[in-house]
């Protein structure tokens, strides 16, 4: 009886040891995954931004901006110009609607914000000119 029990237990120990080995390999893989090198997302975001700006696709830019803000409300490091350009486009777009309404207060607020954003654009200042040209 005891011998049979021992044999059964030995078999179970063998299976469990094998299981442990498998789970250990899985665990080692998970550690590697957890410490994997992740490419800085701002690099690809700025590459897309450059592509969109070079094609004057400011609509895509603004659309992406609103989607991005669901995960990053404020501009992540390295994407400040992207956010500023998209916000500039958004403000310019709204400004035209406020002009239609004749709402001087909102227009003034929009224009002040646009001026502030334009200063952040640096080398991408031309994008603001292009946006204004598209909307006017």
């Amino acid at each position: 009886m005891n011998k049979t029990l021992k044999v059964i237990l030995n078999i179970l120990i063998g299976i469990a040891a094998l299981g442990c080995l498998v789970f250990f390999i899985e665990y080692a893989g998970s550690v590697k995954y957890a410490h994997r090198e992740i490419e800085d997302p701002s690099i690809s975001a700025m590459q897309v931004f450059d592509y969109e700006v070079s094609h004057k696709a400011y609509g895509e830019l603004v659309s992406g901006y609103f989607s991005d803000r669901i995960s990053d409300f404020d501009a992540p490091a390295g994407e400040e110009i992207l956010y500023a350009t998209a916000e500039y486009a958004n403000r310019s777009f709204l400004s035209k609607a406020y002009e239609e309404q004749g709402n001087a207060e909102k227009i003034a607020s929009c224009e002040a914000k646009k001026a502030e954003l334009r200063e952040k654009l640096g080398d991408y200042d031309f994008a603001a000119d292009e946006i204004d040209a598209i909307l006017n």
Partner: protein, 253 residues
């Protein structure tokens, strides 16, 4: 006791009389009994030891098995933790409940400033849920703001892509998407305006609607009456109307 032969006193366990040397029967019997008991004791002891050893073999195996099973579970759990990304939405939702007073002030400021897209993005980012203990008062206006943001963003996509030939095809998805979002805005607006009890928020929701009307006039070139008619159309009819407006304006250009 006394020796049966010489009558001298002897100890009961003595095998022989110390005086005459004759054997003591009781002593011998006692001695044999002691030997028998000792043998039996040793047998029993060795049986117990052997049986315990056998049990120990099983116990040790059971312990090893249990340790291996626990190890498997621990390793599996650790692997899951390493593979799992943090639940950002749950973290933000928890934060939003904790900071409801501060966030409510920010949201009210956005509403006062007419920054409805900011409000919608703020709510989405912080995963704010409109519970009675927190943000319930913003429920109706946020629903409107979410629809407003989508609608404005989709119109912006069409208008601001005008010069991007690789991205913009006036008859395709952008117009369909905008038609869906503007229909959704008006459907949401008509429902939420009935729900809203705060006159200030009600006024802000009307402000959103006026902004949308102004955008339709500016960017689709619709007149007052056309806008009035446009907002009653189904999304499919809206799409046709938008396409006419966009391609018409492009042709003029």
């Amino acid at each position: 006791m006394l020796c049966k032969k010489c009558g001298k006193p002897i100890k009961i366990e003595a095998r022989f009389c110390p005086n005459c040397g004759s054997p003591n029967e009781l002593g011998n019997t006692h001695h044999e009994n002691i030997v028998t008991y000792d043998r039996q004791f040793k047998n029993t002891q060795s049986e117990v030891v052997s049986s315990t050893r056998k049990m120990w073999g099983i116990v040790i195996r059971v312990v090893i098995l249990a340790a291996l099973v626990v190890g498997m579970f621990v390793l599996a759990h650790l692997s899951d933790l390493n593979y799992a990304d943090p639940d950002i939405d749950a973290i933000r939702e928890k934060e939003s409940l904790k900071n409801s007073e501060e966030y409510s002030e920010i949201m009210d400021q956005y509403i006062r400033d007419g920054e409805y897209q900011e409000l919608a993005s703020f709510v989405s980012y912080h995963n704010i849920i409109f519970l009675p203990e927190g943000y319930e008062k913003f429920d109706a206006i946020d629903r409107c703001a979410q629809a407003y943001r989508d609608c404005v963003s989709d119109l912006e996509q069409i208008v601001l892509n005008r010069e991007a030939e690789d991205f913009f095809d006036g008859t395709e998805t952008d117009i369909t998407t905008f038609s869906i979002s503007i229909r959704n805005f008006y459907d949401t607006y008509s429902v939420q305006i009935e729900r809203e009890e705060d006159p200030f928020y009600l006024d802000r929701m009307k402000d959103m609607e006026e902004n949308v009307r102004a955008m339709l006039k500016v960017y689709l070139g619709l007149g007052d009456e056309e806008v009035e008619e446009f907002i009653t159309l189904s999304k499919d009819k809206m799409a046709v109307r938008v396409e006419e407006a966009i391609t018409g304006s492009q042709a003029e250009e």
